[in-house]
Symmetry: C2
């Protein structure tokens, strides 16, 4: 479980690159515990990169929906769709052993961002016809 | 691009199953537009299932961090780590053509949930020693 660790102020910090060992607890935690923490954090960093790329792809799809709605003058939000999405996500969360309350909060967080995008696309379309 | 669509009140709605065609706009949009919308929504549904399972796995990892922190009496939050995570996520978002502001909001949303979990684990550990 040992991980390579840079001393503070070496390469990573100076070049502005990501330092996977960054921690406010450095020096105050025994090495074996810090090694275990860094091993788990390395997996979390991989999950986070995957999340960012997946969210980017999801927003590409909702941008397409936004343009379709703008061109055909459809409303930015669709309460019937959102209700069905949230119920499905809660069920999937339950199957995945993720807190369904959190899954619902998460979906509402994403949907509110998407509606904001749809409104922007709609306003731009109304102004420019594009 | 044609999709199977159930009439309202048929199988899906009655059984409580997910209806991928659920929409408050049903009947008020021309068929070709609704078909295109449903095709994109079908991809969004797949992305969402992937997101839920990925988040479930991320929370498994942070639960392990939570237990490690509780056992070794480490603080629930780690501002140095969180700052590095957010900077990295903003950079990855830029590469993935995702709004870095959104990526930062998203990461703060996830981190605040994780800290809440860590506090719960820490309180449970203090009470029971587990």
């Amino acid at each position: 479980m040992s991980q390579q660790r840079n001393a503070p102020g070496t390469d990573n910090a100076e070049s502005g690159d990501y330092d996977p060992t960054a921690s406010s607890m450095s020096g105050s935690v025994e090495d074996s515990v810090m090694d275990e923490l860094l091993a788990i954090r390395s997996s979390i960093d991989n999950f986070d990169a995957t999340l960012v790329y997946l969210l980017a792809e999801r927003f590409k799809a909702t941008q397409r929906v936004g343009h379709l709605k703008a061109v055909h003058s459809l409303p930015p939000s669709d309460p019937g769709r959102e209700k069905a999405q949230i119920e499905r996500l809660r069920r999937l969360a339950h199957e995945a052993h993720l807190d369904p309350e959190f899954a619902e909060k998460f979906m509402n967080f994403i949907i509110s961002e998407v509606i904001r995008h749809h409104q922007t696309i709609s306003a731009t379309h109304a102004e420019t016809g594009n």
